[in-house]
């Protein structure tokens, strides 16, 4: 007799990679200026060092692909992958299906930071080193530190940490509302930031995001088996010889850093961190050995496609991407739920 344990099957991996490729090709080719996929491929190859291929694109079209669409697609991949893998990790660390990357007040902290920066006219929210994403990042991290501090006072249990996150989020949201009330002329700009967007000015946002993405991927992939062990609860996990508190703090730090970086460059994009991991669970299985890598792939692909919809559905205007992720994601989730009928929580 032999037994099969949970592992990422080649077919599932191929589906994830395929989803990313489809999303990337669609993101690069579809827009106000239609560009053939073959030309896009050649233009990308041509951009690689040591390779020279004639894409047949004009200089303008080549610039559209390489300087406008490609950075935006890469940022979408990074933000979507980070939010969905962080959401999956939070759900595992807290054993809570409603946990998302914003659980410990990251959204509220980032919102406060961005609101302060915008109302004080410190920047416009774009570009490397702009005060708005920096303030959002600082606010997000402050919220996590406050939640951990308050949760520690409450007895260090998972429930007290989650409750502390709720309290901290409420407190920081109240602060944000107060700041906004006192600067009502900035309301539109702050609201626009809160609804989220995948906008780039060249490569600065993907470059800012990349190290946090790499860190989160490295840590969360390493801890994916530990998350499976945490699924039996802290006491049983401890009886199996692991330190659940230490595992949880490492996972939460990595996921929070990633989510904070994502929020700082793209604003608050809801839904992805909850729904993508659940769709992956329903379709491919609940083990974190499968869930973390596939959340990275499908989260990235989903965000690129959502951004494509956001910038093309009501051309020349753009829809807020948070609206699109919920509008497309919710029905899709219901379809997957109906078709699989699996119990994953």
């Amino acid at each position: 007799m032999t037994i099969e344990t949970a592992r990422l099957q080649p077919g599932a991996l191929a589906a994830g990679v395929g989803a990313v490729l489809v999303a990337v090709v669609a993101g690069l080719t579809i827009g106000p200026v239609g560009i053939a996929p073959k030309s896009v491929l050649f233009a990308l190859l041509d951009a690689l060092p040591g390779i020279s291929v004639d894409s047949g694109l004009s200089g303008l079209h080549e610039a559209i692909v390489q300087e406008i669409r490609l950075p935006r697609v890469v940022l979408g991949l990074l933000v979507g992958a980070t939010l969905s893998m962080s959401g999956a990790a939070y759900q595992g660390a807290f054993r809570n299906p409603l946990a998302d990357p914003y659980l410990l007040g990251i959204a509220a902290g980032a919102g406060l930071g961005a609101t302060v920066a915008i109302t004080q006219n410190l920047g416009d929210g774009a570009g490397f080193g702009d005060p708005v994403p920096l303030a959002a990042f600082a606010g997000a991290l402050l919220a996590v530190v406050m939640s951990y501090g308050a949760g520690h006072i409450g007895g260090r249990s998972t429930a007290s940490l989650v409750l502390a996150g709720v309290a901290v989020a409420s407190f920081l949201t109240a602060c944000q509302t107060y700041v906004l009330q006192a600067n009502s002329d900035a309301f539109r700009e702050v609201y626009s930031w809160i609804l989220g967007r995948i906008a780039t000015s060249g490569w600065s946002e993907p470059v800012v995001m990349l190290p946090y993405f790499v860190l989160a991927v490295a840590v969360l992939l390493r801890y994916r088996r530990a998350l499976d062990i945490l699924a039996v609860g802290d006491e049983e996990a401890q009886a199996l010889g692991i330190n659940p508190r230490r595992v949880r703090i490492h996972v939460v730090i990595a996921a929070s850093l990633g989510a904070a970086a994502a929020v700082s460059v793209s604003g608050l994009i809801g839904f992805v961190g909850i729904i993508v991991p659940h769709v992956v669970r329903l379709a491919f299985g609940a083990s974190y050995r499968i869930l973390i890598p596939l959340s990275i792939l499908f989260g990235g692909a989903f965000m690129v496609l959502a951004d494509l919809a956001a910038r093309t559905l009501v051309e020349p205007a753009e829809l807020p991407i948070g609206v699109v992720t919920a509008f497309l994601g919710a029905p899709f989730f219901v379809i997957v739920l109906r078709s699989t009928r699996r119990e994953v929580w």
Binding site: M1, T2, I3, E4, T5, A6, R222, Y223, R225, A226, D228, I229, A231, V232, G233, E235, E236, Q238, A239, L240, G241, I242, N243, V247, R281, G285, A286, S287, R342, E343, V344, W345
Partner: protein
């Protein structure tokens, strides 16, 4: 083959003492049943042995204190009263969790780990269940799967917290017979908490009664399970019927129950 001994074991929660200086000596290979009324401290005693709650005093396994969780998990395995069964987890993966103390958090499944899991599944007649979700199993099957995870740890000591609570009579016998067989095969030391006093009398070598956080009686089933002891510590009026396999405890008819 480690024995278990506790010296002046003390547990407090929020300033309230739960265990008051427990001294226990459980020789290697013995099966000790711990009985007592609700809230007496049975589960707390098991959790102290397991190392999942803070305690005072000294606990030794084979004469040595074992502090590191991973080392302790290689010595003793635990079957909780209400195990958490993760949704969507398959039997094979659940049993493989038992290899965590040997493999570590970041290790991969080795051929040895897989071999141990296969052996355990086969021994417990669970081979056909490997690819089933644990949650889809019946109560009795599920309890065997939880036991399989504990056995996959390949420890010398097995701690069982009310292992028969959710089971019907037939499955209660199945599980305890299985533990008894495994104990004889593998020389396991077993510490179990049990509510059913007749089962406690039938299985195991000795019984200790815990009441108000203290061990108040210890001995063989016939020594410990007397009408006086049960009345005193459980507040129950019982009759004890002598049976070749051990005493049978039945509730006595009282004036109140008659009316």
């Amino acid at each position: 083959m480690p024995s278990i001994s506790t010296h002046n074991l003390v547990v407090e929660f929020g300033g309230t003492s739960i265990l008051h200086g427990i001294d226990l000596d459980i020789p290697a290979g013995e099966w000790l049943n711990i009985i007592g009324p609700n809230g007496a401290g049975k589960t707390t005693l098991l959790r102290s042995l397991l190392g999942t709650i803070d305690h005072g005093g000294r606990i030794e396994f084979g004469g040595a204190v074992v502090d590191k969780p991973q080392d302790r998990a290689r010595i003793l395995a635990y079957v909780p009263q209400s195990p958490v069964i993760p949704p969507g987890m398959f039997v094979a993966d659940y049993v493989m969790l038992g290899r965590t103390p040997h493999r570590g958090v970041f290790g991969r499944d080795s051929d040895t780990d897989l071999g141990v899991a296969v052996d355990v599944l086969t021994r417990l007649d669970l081979a056909g269940f490997a690819e089933r979700e644990v949650r889809s199993l019946s109560g009795g099957e599920r309890q065997r799967v939880v036991l399989a995870r504990a056995l996959a740890q390949q420890t010398d000591i097995l701690l069982l917290d009310e292992p028969t609570t959710a089971l019907d009579l037939g499955h209660q016998q199945d599980v305890l017979d299985l533990v008894d067989d495994l104990r004889r095969e593998r020389g396991l030391t077993v510490v179990a908490t049990l509510h059913d006093l007749t089962l406690a009398a039938r299985y195991g070598d000795r019984i200790s009664v815990i009441a108000d956080g203290r061990i108040v009686e210890s001995g063989t089933s016939t020594e410990v399970l007397t009408t006086e002891t049960i009345a005193k510590h459980f507040g129950a009026n019982v009759r004890i019927i002598d049976d070749p396999d051990g005493p049978v405890i039945v509730p006595a008819t009282t004036d109140r129950s008659r009316s």
